[in-house]
């Protein structure tokens, strides 16, 4: 495969959830979620029940990918921040560590300035967590042993077949 798989560990997942929860409160936002650049949702917090976060994640990634394409066409490395203003709610999209997309949905109870300020701090924290994940994944790979209970350690053809039996 062209890129390594993204692995999320329990400890780091909790840290990520804590960071985005704090961001939501500090930015007075309605929803904060984190998406990988391929469109997979990593974590979400806030008023998410009313939202189809899977579709949001995929469309956000598509949006960012298309914007990245535009940036390169005009000689920019990327547009690290996107902002969409709505009538009632707005979306602030930023790239963290070049790999992950941070999305903040907010309304009149917050402001773009406040969101940008809080996102900046949270991005730094999230970057550190993702760095830890990368290092952990590398250590696991280098050691060659599955310290974790890999779902694929003993997967058999029968397991996969069972998935597709109607």
């Amino acid at each position: 495969m062209g890129a390594s798989d993204l692995i999320m560990y329990e400890e780091e997942f909790q840290k990520i959830k804590d960071v985005i929860s704090k961001l939501r409160v500090d930015a007075n936002a309605n929803v904060v979620f984190l998406v990988d650049k391929n469109g997979q949702q990593i974590a979400a917090t806030g008023d998410v029940e009313r939202l189809d976060t899977t579709s949001l994640a995929s469309l956000t990634a598509g949006n960012v990918a298309a914007t990245d394409g535009l940036a390169k066409l005009i000689g920019e490395k990327e547009f690290a921040v996107l902002f969409h203003e709505g009538e009632k709610e707005n979306i602030h999209i930023s790239i963290v560590s070049g790999k992950v997309i941070l999305v903040v949905i907010f309304d009149e109870r917050s402001s773009l300035g406040l969101v940008r300020l809080r996102v900046k701090r949270s991005s730094e924290e999230l970057s550190r967590v993702f760095q830890q994940i990368m290092e952990k994944t590398e250590r696991e790979r280098a050691s060659g042993a599955a310290a974790l209970d890999s779902p694929f350690a003993e997967i058999t053809d029968a397991d996969i077949d069972a998935l597709f039996n109607e």
Binding site: M1, G2, A3, S4, D5, L6, I7, M8, Y9, E10, F13, Q14, D36, K37, N38, G39, Q40, I42, D52, T54, S55, S58, L59, G62, A65, A66, D68, G69, L148, D149, P151, F152, E154, I155, D157, D159, I160, D161, A162, L163, F164
Partner: protein, 194 residues
């Protein structure tokens, strides 16, 4: 690029349906969406033109069940097939885990099929993938049409390696789920080898 979340015990993989314009990629996804249990699917998102030609992508999330205690989700995408949307096709291929190539069996579309496979090969390379090794399934669609090229001839021109091949009539659902299952299986087997 799969996403394995040990905390929430989920595995997420991406399958992209590729092929020339109007070959049946979107039709495949629409059929899968219609026939899948509501609990096992999300919304089908289609970013299309006013004339229903795919403009950016179609997207359908599917829950395939549990394997070793991990919920297995597949995200299905289609690319826009028209030639001039190549920039968008490249973007959609990012992080792909498996590819389904939907070939149009009509004689008049054989050149377009061949060009599209070459385009797929080249776009995968740009992302660091190799069509020779990535999970890959070939679907020969529109087998019901009177101008359908014989299967042997289609295989001669389009078969890339030893990929599974399925004859299909996507509008009627023939071959659609067989194709998806074969690709999903390959993706999981590939993951299990790592």
């Amino acid at each position: 690029m799969s996403f394995i979340n040990y905390a929430s015990r989920e595995i997420n993989c991406k399958i992209v349906y590729y092929g020339p314009g109007l070959c049946g990629k979107t039709t495949n996804l629409q059929y899968i969406y219609e026939k899948t249990n509501p609990q096992a699917k999300g919304k089908l998102i289609s970013l299309a033109t006013e004339t229903d030609r795919t403009l950016f992508f179609d997207f359908l999330p599917l829950d395939l069940g549990t394997i070793r205690g991990f919920k297995t989700r597949f995200h299905l995408y289609t690319v826009p097939g028209q030639v001039f949307y190549d920039a968008s096709r490249k973007l959609i291929l990012k992080g792909v885990d498996g590819v389904v190539f939907v070939a149009d069996s009509q004689e008049a579309r054989m050149d377009a099929n061949v060009e599209s496979i070459r385009n797929l090969e080249s776009n995968l390379q740009e992302h660091g993938f190799d069509l020779r090794t990535i999970p890959y399934v070939l679907q020969l669609n529109k087998r019901d049409l009177p101008t359908a090229v014989p299967v042997e001839e289609m295989l001669r021109q389009l078969k890339y390696k030893d990929e599974p091949v399925f004859e299909a009539v996507a509008l009627k659902g023939i071959g659609v789920f067989d194709t998806l299952k074969a690709c999903a299986k390959q993706v999981l087997i590939e993951l299990s080898k790592k």
